[in-house]
Amino acid sequence: MADSGSGSGDWTAGIVAIVAALLLGGGIPIGLYFGLYTPKVAEREAAQAKLSTLNTEMEILLAEADTVRKLEEDGDQMAERLEVLEARFVVADASDKDKKELKVAASTLQTLADRHDLRLLRKRESQAGATTVFPANDDLVFENGLTAMKYYVEAQAEFHDFGRFLTEVETLSSAVVIPDTLRCIGDNNGGKRHLFQLTVYIVVRRDIDNIGR
């Protein structure tokens, strides 16, 4: 009897030790799992959700970038079309200080005036370097940036000569000339040479590269 009593007591201590080992041994991995692993998983999932949101935002931005690229391409195409449209306008941008093409256009008008026998007004005949076509040094600026330079044509000529001159001016292929006002005063002495005062504008080409920039 004494043997069996002593043996049961030894087992009890052992079982307690085993249970303690079980508790301790099980607690460590469980503690690690819930204390470290689970929060880390949550953190990783949050980061992945953020990455996913960022990816969506990036996709939206990339679509926006496509739209912007299309806008830029539209602009380039418009610029090319505008260049073709303005081919007949003369070049006289800010970089061209001498306004060479404008002067060439004005000189074309003067050549036409000479060809059609448009003569200087009597009062200007004595002026040195007087011409029938001369600049008013007046820029006309349109609402969207187009400019035109004002020129005067003052001459005495026969009506039909002036008409032919005006036709050629209005249909010039090298420049676009817009007539503004015209005043024809008949010769008081009944002669054929009348006085013509014409105001025209020569349209100047834009600096297309700088439009809207």
Binding site: I18, Q48, L51, L62, A65, L85, L146, T181, I211
Partner: protein, 231 residues
């Protein structure tokens, strides 16, 4: 007998201790294995998280750069495209709506009354204002671009001259009305011209007192130039 029992007890105790020891060692060993497994999971998550965080940082930087780029490019692109469209429309207006004076002069030259004693002393084509006739042009105070708008806008035509009355005033008026209807180009470009005779200011040449010369005025003022085609 007592000794034998004692030996037996010692052997049992040794065996019991061995079982307990092996059990505890096994438990701790298994627990260690599980802890290592959990630790490896934790490590995997840690490296994974580091990678995801790197990707997030990279994507955020990419997004911020693209966003900043678009914030600059988009308004610029819109502004340029819209400005180019405005410029295109303006150029088209200039090319299609600009006035041509020559058809008016041709009509005036080609269509004259039957009487040879007829002449114009003044022909004026000017900007047509709301007041009619050749009123003052738009001033800078009203609209900065008034002058450029007027350049493509309407014109008035005013012509003064003298005509010899042959027959009667009514016949001359009718003759002038016929001239007005035959001026097709002028009618198209500046509208129907109207002739008015100013009989009260008629003049009589001293060498021919029976002749009557009456001043007349021709007006047309509903001018809207528009060729509708680009040359």
């Amino acid at each position: 007998m007592f000794e034998l029992n004692l030996i037996k007890d010692k052997a049992k105790a040794r065996q019991r201790r061995r079982v307990i020891f092996l059990s505890i060692v096994s438990i701790l060993f298994l627990s260690g294995l599980v802890a290592i497994f959990v630790g490896s999971l934790f490590w995997r998550e840690t490296t994974e998280l580091a990678k995801v965080n790197d990707a997030v940082a990279a994507r955020e930087a990419e997004r911020a750069a693209l966003d900043a780029d678009l914030n600059i490019r988009e308004p610029k692109a819109k502004k340029r495209r819209n400005a180019l469209i405005d410029a295109w429309n303006e150029d088209m207006a200039v090319l299609t709506d600009r006035p041509y004076f020559n058809p008016l002069l041709e009509d005036i030259a080609d269509n004259t009354p039957q009487t040879p004693d007829f002449w114009y002393k003044l022909i004026t084509i000017s900007v047509h204002t709301a007041q009619g006739g050749s009123g003052p042009r738009g001033t800078a105070g009203e609209d900065e671009f008034a002058q450029s708008k007027e350049l493509l806008n309407t014109r008035s035509l005013l012509a003064d001259g003298y005509i010899k009355i042959e027959g009667s005033d009514i016949l001359t008026e009718s003759e002038l009305a016929q001239v007005a209807t035959s001026m097709s180009e002028l009618r198209n470009l500046v509208g129907e011209p109207t002739f008015t005779l100013d009989v009260s200011n008629e003049i009589t040449p001293p060498n021919a007192p029976e002749d009557r010369y009456v001043p007349f005025t021709m007006r047309a003022a509903q001018t809207q130039f528009s060729s509708g085609v680009i040359e």
